[in-house]
Amino acid sequence: MAFFSSGSRALVEILTRLQSAERPMPVDQTFFEFGSMKYHIQASPSDPENVHLSISTPSLSHEASPSTALPEFTLQETMKTYRDFAEVSRLHSVVLSSQLKHILGNLGSSGTTRLVYNHRDPFFVSRTPGKLNAIFPMRFRDDTDLAVATSFFQELQDAGNSYSKAPKCSWSAIPPPELRGESVHHLTTNGGFVSFDILERHVKRRRAAKTAWILLNFQSYVKYHIKCTRSYIQSRMRKRQERLTEVIQDARLRGSDNTKKLQVRKKSKRRLISLGKAKKLQKGFRAVVDRMKRLRLWIRVRALDRLRRHYRQCFAVPRVKGNKYYDKLE
């Protein structure tokens, strides 16, 4: 998933282009990622063998105001992870995981500590023999965010049960027992508490950096999901509103172009129907006249000329002219 890819694609692309360039070219570029990571790349034609890369990353600390310099153990850890461009692009996650390891090492075999990453809301890490608990107190601005997030946390809890390899996730409206003793100010939330049980297999070898990176970005991930859901809800509401507006527009009696076009189409249909009906009427009339003629022939008897003449006078059948022209009556 792109959101959790700890590597910086932009950095890898720039470094690859520099390496594959035919001639050394001057580069002095600064860019930001994830809102807080700052990269500065410098290269000059006079020194084609070296490219200077500076990374500024927010650190993990106990307090809201982080320290300015990275500790020595973190720098040593980063120097071990310096093989190729992909590894270089993941340096920030290595920095964070090394800091997290150090903090947990100071904690001992059990205990709870509060951590702050990048001026965000603090979260808690609790260590017990055999596992780590990462507990996130969730706070939201308004009721809509809260409702969407609560639905997401419940789904997260249900989905965690179906994936055995993933850390077990739980959500509760009240602080979990591991946070007993913490100040009330830090435990006041409206979105409850989300806990992840991190086992040894989740932090084995290189997975430690990735797991640390995912957990540290959990709160941003939730906010991103809420933002996308809100925009989705907005677009659906707009579509429904447009559909309902069409219904009320159709209720108008007069005035719209669409209704006029409909009326014109209806008139032309009516003309076609009237022509067809006239032809049918003509056919029917001819059929009746032919039948009457046949009846007359059948009834004719030689000895009854007088009667026949009388019959002709009474039941005279008008001759129908085939043409459509009529004689004008004077």
Binding site: E155, L156, A159, Y163, M237, L244, V247, I248, A251, R252
Partner: protein, 240 residues
């Protein structure tokens, strides 16, 4: 409810107590039944609101257990049919200038200053959570709806959606910007709307609006839960 198909009531004409034609299955509750529910009767010359509750249908299953979706669909149909019939009877509007201010023409159902111009309001309840109030006057009719909200998420989505529509009331013309107190959304139809639009299409719009609201809120809730499930699954896959 007075004045069904007989023209507007006047001050000299006494109010009749005949009820409007009802769909089969609709039940009239006597006025005294209003007291225990906490509904306060309208004071002054206004009579007590007439309430109609749609009972649940008996099931066709011999074991007496109705299928929930079928029963719900049937009660919804009855509810909407009752509302449609009430609106067809109530929507007999005519132009009536304001009696108090010269050269003014105001919807009397909103002002309620002249009791002789108002008809008995009708309250149609599908259940405790869903109801529709139809208030009629000589030149206007006000329809207020209370939408079903089963849980917190539905409550939020309904509030959000209906507020979204109310803010765009000019596109709907007959929609009120602010709902009546105690209800989620309100319509105000005047005699001018009846002159500009087909009456049966207006009623169709109201009924379709109600159906679409319910459908949209259910679909939104389902979409939010489905999105949450997918996002949660993708999140947990990162650990694998």
């Amino acid at each position: 409810m007075t004045g069904y198909g007989r023209g507007p009531p006047t001050a000299s004409r006494p109010r009749s107590t005949s009820h409007p034609p009802l769909t089969p299955g609709a039940l009239i509750l006597p006025p005294l039944a209003l007291a225990p529910t906490g509904e306060t009767p309208v004071t002054g010359n206004h009579p007590i609101v007439s309430r109609y509750r749609i009972p649940s249908l008996p099931s066709a299953d011999p074991r007496g257990r109705p299928r929930p979706s079928l029963a719900m669909a049937n009660t919804l149909r009855l509810y909407l049919t009752c509302i449609r019939n009430t609106l067809e009877a109530a929507m007999c509007l005519q132009n009536f200038p304001c009696q108090e201010v010269e050269r003014h023409n105001k919807p009397e159902v909103e002002l309620k200053t002249s009791p002789e111009l108002l008809l008995n309001p009708v309250l149609i309840c599908r259940n405790e959570a869903e109801k529709c109030l139809v208030e009629t006057s000589i030149n206007s009719i006000r329809i207020s709806l209370k939408v079903k909200q089963a849980d917190e998420l539905e409550n939020i989505l309904a509030k959000k959606f209906l507020r979204f529509l109310s803010m765009r009331a000019e596109a709907f013309q007959v929609l009120r910007r602010k709902p009546v107190q105690g209800y989620d959304i309100s319509f105000l139809i005047t005699n001018y709307h009846c002159e500009d639009m087909h009456k049966h299409k207006l009623i169709d719009f109201i009924v379709q609006f109600m159906e679409d609201i319910d459908k949209e809120i259910s679909e939104l809730k389902l979409s939010v839960n489905t999105r949450g499930r997918l996002v949660a699954t993708e999140f947990l896959k990162q650990f694998i």
